[in-house]
């Protein structure tokens, strides 16, 4: 009797590799084939070749734009490169941008000694965790104070008149302990404002250790991880 699954003299390994790549095997058969893949490089190469052959089938699938919170969660899970940290980032950035600074607002090159991040309480129905920061200019003058409720996502901004009259648009950034920055968005530099950060920034804002302001050209939105305009103010985020 002929086995209906006989591939007629064809290479059995090739067929099995194709079935594994396509993921049609039963759990038991798949486990056995995976074990083979892990220990037999020739078989593993067959599987890889099948992935390549079948990859074009993805053309039949409609793309769907992910929600904005996916990237911040991915980023929050990355292991930090050993040679990077926020102080280095900002120092480099401040040096690089000095020439761009407009006279209306002096540059911040002063790096505040950053306190160790406040211990994050274990997830529980916690009372409001308020974090505050005073953002200062290079001159030492306060540019803005900020309060953030890490449990509700409410953000309160109170600028001084130091940024008044500037035609550029201030943008607020989170400085992450593992390095890099995350854009919060454009803010009003002339008057107090309230925002809710929502899901996308909840995580990053909860463990950022400093905030900063860059001045961007009107109508321009910088990349979410790098300001294009000069950074004019920054301050450590501290727990109230």
């Amino acid at each position: 009797m002929t086995d209906p699954t006989d591939v007629g003299g064809m290479d059995e390994d090739q067929a099995l590799a194709g079935e594994l790549a396509l993921r049609v095997l039963s759990p038991e058969d798949e486990a056995a084939a995976r074990a083979r893949e892990a220990t037999d490089p020739a078989f593993a190469a067959h599987v890889e070749a099948w992935n390549e052959r079948l990859g074009g089938l993805v053309e039949g699938i409609v793309s769907v734009e992910p929600s904005p919170w996916v990237w911040p969660r991915v980023e929050a899970g990355l292991t930090p490169p050993a040679n990077d940290n926020s102080v280095v980032f900002w120092r480099r950035w401040a040096i690089g941008s000095t020439g761009l600074l407009a006279a209306s607002v002096a540059a911040v090159v002063m790096l505040l000694a950053q306190p160790a991040p406040a211990p994050i309480a274990p997830a529980a129905p916690a009372p409001a965790v308020i974090r505050v920061a005073t953002l200062t200019l290079e001159s030492g003058a306060a540019a803005m104070t900020l309060a953030y409720d890490a449990t509700s996502g409410e953000l309160y901004l109170a600028p001084t008149n130091e940024m008044a009259g500037d035609t550029r648009v201030p943008h607020l950034w989170l400085v992450m302990p593992e390095g890099g920055v995350q854009l919060v968005g454009a803010i009003d530099g002339s008057t107090t404002s309230r925002h809710n950060l929502g899901q996308a920034l909840f995580g990053p804002a909860g463990h950022a250790n400093a905030v900063a302001v860059s001045m961007e050209a009107p109508g321009h939105t910088p990349a979410p991880d790098k300001p294009d305009g000069p950074v004019v103010a920054q301050g450590a985020l501290q727990r109230l």
Binding site: G8, E52, I61
Partner: protein, 186 residues
Amino acid sequence: MSAILTRDELALALGRTGEGDRAAFRRVYEATSAKLLGVTLRILADRQLAEDVLQDTYLTVWRKAGSFDASRASPITWLVTIARNRAIDRLRSGAAMRKSTPIDEAVNVIADDAPSPAQALETGDDVRRLNDCLGQLDDRTGGAIRTAFIEGVTYDALAVRENVPLGTMKSWIRRGLMRLRMCLES
């Protein structure tokens, strides 16, 4: 926030990701996340689960990018393989409650009609060739292979769906795969 990268640009960005370059990783994400969410959503039929798996997928990409070899794999296929396998693992772990009707609804409601950046990533020739070769199989076989790929279903489920014995479905697909291989390599 989508960026269009050519295949070479994506391969380069993926290579840099393997060296720990976060900006390059972000470019990879922007160019490919909509396509990969399409893949995970088609399999899981639940947006929340599909986005959870998408997150896992990119964390895996970050860790494994160093092993990506542009001379052996197309970057988008390498990424799709990770996303698809993760979604199928999740589906079969039982975490996904697959409902009876939601696939088309889910996709119709949220499908982005804009041209996909990932469309620029596959070289048109490869896709055309695959389609030509699939077209040479009989309709049932070609259809079963497509369904298995896109929905992540096993021989068992395919046999039930087509109302044929399990052995028949295995035979169709195994023979189909072998013919496909010969056709693609001819």
